[in-house]
Symmetry: C2
DNA sequence: ATCGCACCTGGAGTGGGCTCCAGGTCAAGG
DNA sequence: CCTTGACCTGGAGCCCACTCCAGGTGCGAT
């Protein structure tokens, strides 16, 4: 078991990634996914590299990165290894925004807690 | 200085709350804000209670509560004090979602950190 | 008096991110 | 042979939450 290249049907990828099939097609259409390989019948056959890319996309999407910025990232990846410093910068900036989101949510949550306590106090 | 009721112009409320004037009008139109008082010329004059309600709206919105649910909350408030247990339930449920968001972001952030470290390691 | 400006209204338009649809292809099972 | 079901395409439609617009009012300053 040195290496094993797997292919995945659309249904498997939906299952694995949580994206809908429509969303996967949409991502391919706008270029967020490289053109996916096809079998003889023209049906998509995803590979491990697609899956791992989708894992990253899922992460960026779930942390609120807009599609336009994910596209920029995708272009950097396509452009080759010399863009790694740019990718780091992009991810670091995003990381800062995520940090800000967490801080903001935590702060807002305190307000909600106050509100709940207040309501409890007047019962 | 026992008590002081203030009124605020639209511009002041925009300044205070960070909502745009269009958004304030929109919130009033859909019933997220009670009809705001007007001066003789028909211009809005907000009061402290509007401001404090807008503070709550800001908090709920910024923690991702959809407008439809804020409207439900607004209806509970309008319906009177007997809905306080319902309001508590609603806020508690929202609080759980906020907690989930924070947990999720924190988890995703680790992935981003890994990715950054990986990129650093191949430089 | 007239200008600029903050404000008003109803309604149309926007942007992001999907989501759905009609109509079609193929492969496998009964 | 026929049906079922997973998949295909291009393009239209949808939802949310605003955002913008045209056309108009009234007030304070020059």
């Amino acid at each position: 078991m040195l290496y094993r290249v797997s292919v995945y049907t659309p249904a498997e990828v939906v299952e694995e990634t949580g994206f809908t099939l429509d969303t996967l097609r949409y991502y391919e259409k706008i270029g967020l996914l490289e053109p996916v390989e096809r079998n003889a019948a023209g049906q998509r056959r995803f590979n491990d590299s697609d899956l791992s890319w989708l894992g990253l996309i899922r992460c960026l999407r779930d942390t609120g990165m807009p599609i336009a910025e994910m596209l920029r990232f995708a272009e950097l990846v396509r452009a080759g290894d010399h863009t790694i410093p740019d990718r780091i910068r992009l991810l670091e900036e995003h990381d800062r925004r995520v940090q800000g989101q967490i801080a903001n949510l935590t702060e807002r949550q305190r307000y909600i807690h106050h509100k709940i306590s207040y309501y409890r106090s007047v019962l």
